[in-house]
Symmetry: C2
Subunit: 600 residues, 2 copies
């Protein structure tokens, strides 16, 4: 398996079953299909999106959509995905199955004291194969960090090396140094491994989750597959309402990407929403419950310490992080140091036994331009740096969450400080939003900040949808959020000079210059909308092969003229200069036609 | 008139005729109305958008929407807008009315050789009051640059000083130094003056224009008022099809903002689309035709010189500027230096007599990431610097156009070079687009680049709509493009630390923190969509006064907790620290309730 292979897959088992783009006709060579790059072992096949151009070339793109886009695989959300990594996990011999924590009605937000107490929401229970949870056999870390430190290149590392077009050793080194994480809970064998670190492609997370106000299990599972279809690299399930445990089970069993959660949300449900009644025991129980299900990374707001709470009192928008405000309320109520901070080492021990990755939450992130980069925010960041060191000591993979609302001129300070304080642990930011004045367009206010902070080193971007601050995202909002953030991430990959990143832009620009409309659509981040927009103005099928577009029309075309120039001057600079006057005469003799005149 | 007055208008003639926001009920104090700030003379009244908050405060926002949003003014597109500046122009005594160039059928793209030759498209002719064109009485420049240089503060300068919340002398200085332009043709007296320069608020241009393929006059006029309603500071009419003269007349007579054009487009129509048949005479005639109509600024691609054309031959996407490729085709066909470059001084003389502002076009801007910052692009920029110096010598206001497609790490070089080469003349950029891979989302790929380059000093941003590269923008696309670019512009104003820019963010964030939903909507860049998105999840009217939102629901609310913290710790840091333990007890005694528990 060489680096070059990732761009020209050695094996394409599905080539005969190519899933063509929506409008492709039978027999046409255009379109794309799901391909695989074969790794060093038969069960290590890395999915790619193989775009077939009309000029006979292929372009290979990173693919996050999972088995759902492979027509040879019969997926069924009621059965769940195949446990791709199961043998890799078992063959390491350092984990064991065990009975696990018994399920309880309150896991699903049902009243423990209700007359129907003890009943689960049986109609909704995931019907797939029964499974027992798995954990470290001896309590020692079974994390990719631990393996990387002792020099092992796991199948997971080889897998992401192929995806990222780098040598596996680069992956191992970055993980060992704590500069990258690979969220892969041993209880989520369905995952297609991916890596988060500044040396690698910038990643995008999509948040989904019902709330007390709306949504259903089916909607949430659908939102997850929908988000990954458009390119989400990870998905956070931020559900807060009822059926929280069951919804998560459905999502995990069907998720080809890492799933993140905020265990505090479910813990709060278990104490009926009373922040002050939270205890370390309830929280810990929730973490174990979720780790057994297979949650790959967890946001932990352990940096919201008691002394920092008053620092937020004179802020314009106080504490806007839900987790942050829960912990602040707890600290206030008890006038005690945060139980997450106090019990952080024990939490590390738990996470290490499942390989759950920390996402150290920024509970005091600014919620407005006015509050950006303030005392509270940076006080918490320094604590996150301290906790990062502790987590590493326990072999737990760790990333650090970042803001929030930050004007452009204050963005760089965030990533620079984080990298310094947290020993280059991956930064995972929400935007940041560069202005507060555009509710309904916060995917854009934040996409601007996201692209910039990713260029400067942020490893993963948490998307923001158009509904931010206003309501819950629907399918369209999820798609818009993901596409916007894929743009930000790819723009950052280009700006960082990520090897191979520009190949995609070049392929699309070549297609544009050569009027290969179908190739433009198929290479687009969103082929469906690109095609629709084109067809709105020029709907006819011939327009897709026409050597003009609706901007200039057939009478005059800029691109056409450039082609003439290239034809005239395609040689070396010398040939060009010598031959120019002569060519000019030929051009005139040929009628000077650089466009097709149409009747007036 | 002091600076402070601009934020607290001295006079609000329309206060009794407030136009409330769509959902406001009679008697409610919420909403907004068109207000005016009175200047030093009775006919100098600067429009503002006055937002009335439910807490009794007012927020004053910059307003580009013209008389259309003033319910006391009876507008009629068939009559046109009142000639606001007419007396200012006349009273300067340096211009005269004259017969003007006679209209010709080919001005509207009608065949001069057709049997119906000589007929205008009479049905479409603008029916408003007849007018004669105006020009300099003695050929000397009647430009704001000339006035500023001799120390005059014109009513136009006072007008923009009020709009920008600066002293009029600052406006005069910036114009005199060539660091700012105010596009105000003496034949466009309907205009509400605005200024473009890095010391001022970042401006946004919206392109409209029919093409050979689609659109009508009515649609184009409507697109113009629609664009200014959402915040476009200037509008470029890039029409290329038939009725080009007549469409422009309708637009100008109804435009409260400066109108820009690319005269080369119309000149090309006059020679039946044959680039090689263009002549200086046809071009010059077109410039005079448009100057007499009142076009405020013109894109002139005089920097596309013969020696630069071969530099584009090995580009990935050649020449993508329509004007650039027309001139390249002409240079190629004749193997001669560009007639625009050769006749630039005469062009300056013409523009100076109407106060038409130059927008020196970047005909060789990159059309793909691969071509960014290349030899051709910067060769042309150096020529634009040379032409800028010539234009200034003739007293012509000048701005410089910029790219295009540029990855983030190459953006800063563009603005830095331009500012150096062009003696800080205002930069006016198209995006730039930071990646090529997202057709249908190029408002976003370019909004990212636009925000960054504006932060670094670009004075005006030319919007890009979702239809870029794919088709012609419809109303929705125009709105999306404008809003996206207003976000980029405002984010840049914040990052530049523009005085007062953050007041808007602060007002909206205060409203958000205090759950004043109606105020959030009314302060939003797009109140309509913000309200719609909120109502999708929580449609009921009471939800707009509820102290929670759909993200967390009524059971738990982050903002609510912050309010409790503020209540607890609103004092000085000392008081906070001393009183904290005690307060914590009170908080517990009061039931620890920071949310409203709801039934399970």
């Amino acid at each position: 398996m060489t680096t070059a292979d990732a761009r020209t897959p050695a094996s394409e088992p599905n080539a005969q079953n190519a899933q063509d783009a929506p409008n492709a006709e039978a027999g046409k060579s255009i379109g794309w299909h799901k391909g695989y790059v074969q790794g060093s072992r038969p069960d290590l096949r890395v999915p790619v999106r193989q775009v077939h151009l009309t000029n006979g070339k292929d372009v290979t793109l990173y693919d996050t959509s999972g088995p759902y886009t492979d027509p040879t695989i019969d997926t069924d959300v009621r059965r769940g995905l195949a446990p791709l990594r199961e043998n890799w996990i078992i063959s390491r011999g350092d984990t064991e199955e065990y009975a696990g924590r018994p399920g309880r009605p309150e896991d699903d937000g049902l009243k423990h004291t209700s007359p129907r107490g003890g009943l689960r929401n049986l109609d909704a229970v995931f019907p797939g194969r029964p499974r027992q949870p798995r954990r470290s056999r001896d309590g020692r870390p079974v994390t990719q960090l631990a393996y990387a430190r002792r020099g092992d290149i796991t199948p997971e590392m080889e897998y992401v090396a192929i995806r990222e077009n780098v040598e596996p050793e680069v992956v191992r080194e970055e993980i060992a140094a704590g500069r990258a994480v690979m969220p892969v809970n041993v209880n989520h064998p369905e995952i297609e491994p991916m890596i988060i670190g500044k040396r690698f492609l910038v990643k995008v997370n999509a948040n989904i989750g019902n709330s007390a106000v709306t949504s259903s299990i089916e909607e949430e599972v659908d939102k997850m597959t929908w988000a990954t279809k458009w390119g989400a690299d990870t998905v956070m399930d931020l559900s807060t309402g009822r059926n929280i445990h069951t919804t998560r089970e459905w999502i995990l069993r069907n998720a080809p990407v890492p799933i993140g959660t905020v265990p505090l949300y479910q813990a709060l449900e278990k104490v009926d929403g009373r922040a002050e009644e939270l205890t370390w025991e309830v929280y810990k129980d929730t973490v174990i419950e979720q780790a057994e299900q297979g949650v790959d990374y967890m946001t932990v707001h352990a940096g919201v310490r008691l002394p920092y709470v008053p620092m937020t009192a004179r802020r314009k928008t106080g504490i806007v992080s839900r987790g942050g405000s829960i912990m602040a309320a707890w600290c206030l109520a008890h006038h005690k140091e945060s139980f997450l901070y106090e019990n952080f080492e024990e939490l590390c021990e738990i996470l290490a036994t499942y390989d759950v990755t920390y996402s150290l939450g920024d509970g005091l992130r600014p919620g407005s331009i006015a509050d950006a980069n303030d005392e509270a925010q940076f006080a918490e960041l320094r604590t996150l740096g301290e906790l990062n060191t502790v987590a590493k000591r326990f072999g737990v993979q760790t990333m650090i969450e970042g803001p929030g609302h930050v004007p452009m001129h204050k963005i760089k300070e965030n990533i620079d400080l984080q990298q310094e304080i947290c020993e280059e642990a991956p930064f995972y930011t929400l935007g940041p939003l560069t202005t507060d004045v555009a509710p309904a367009y916060d995917h854009i206010t934040s996409g601007i900040g996201a692209a910039m902070i990713a260029w400067w080193g942020t490893a993963m971007l948490c998307y923001v949808t158009p509904k931010e601050h206003l309501g819950l995202p629907n399918r369209d909002d999820v798609k818009t959020g993901v596409i916007t953030y894929k743009i930000a991430a790819h723009a950052a990959d280009l700006a960082k000079g990520h090897p191979g990143a520009q190949d995609w832009d070049d392929a699309l620009s070549d297609a544009r210059f050569e009027f290969r409309w179908e190739d433009q659509f198929n290479l687009a981040l969103d082929p469906v909308t690109a095609r629709e927009f084109h067809d709105e103005t020029l709907p006819a099928e011939p327009a897709k092969t026409a050597h003009f577009c609706s901007m200039c029309g057939p009478k005059f075309c800029s691109m056409k003229i450039s082609h003439d120039i290239r034809r005239e001057h395609g040689g070396t600079q010398e040939e060009i200069e010598v031959g120019m006057a002569e060519k000019s005469k030929e051009f005139a003799a040929a009628g000077n036609r650089v466009y097709l005149p149409i009747a007036d």
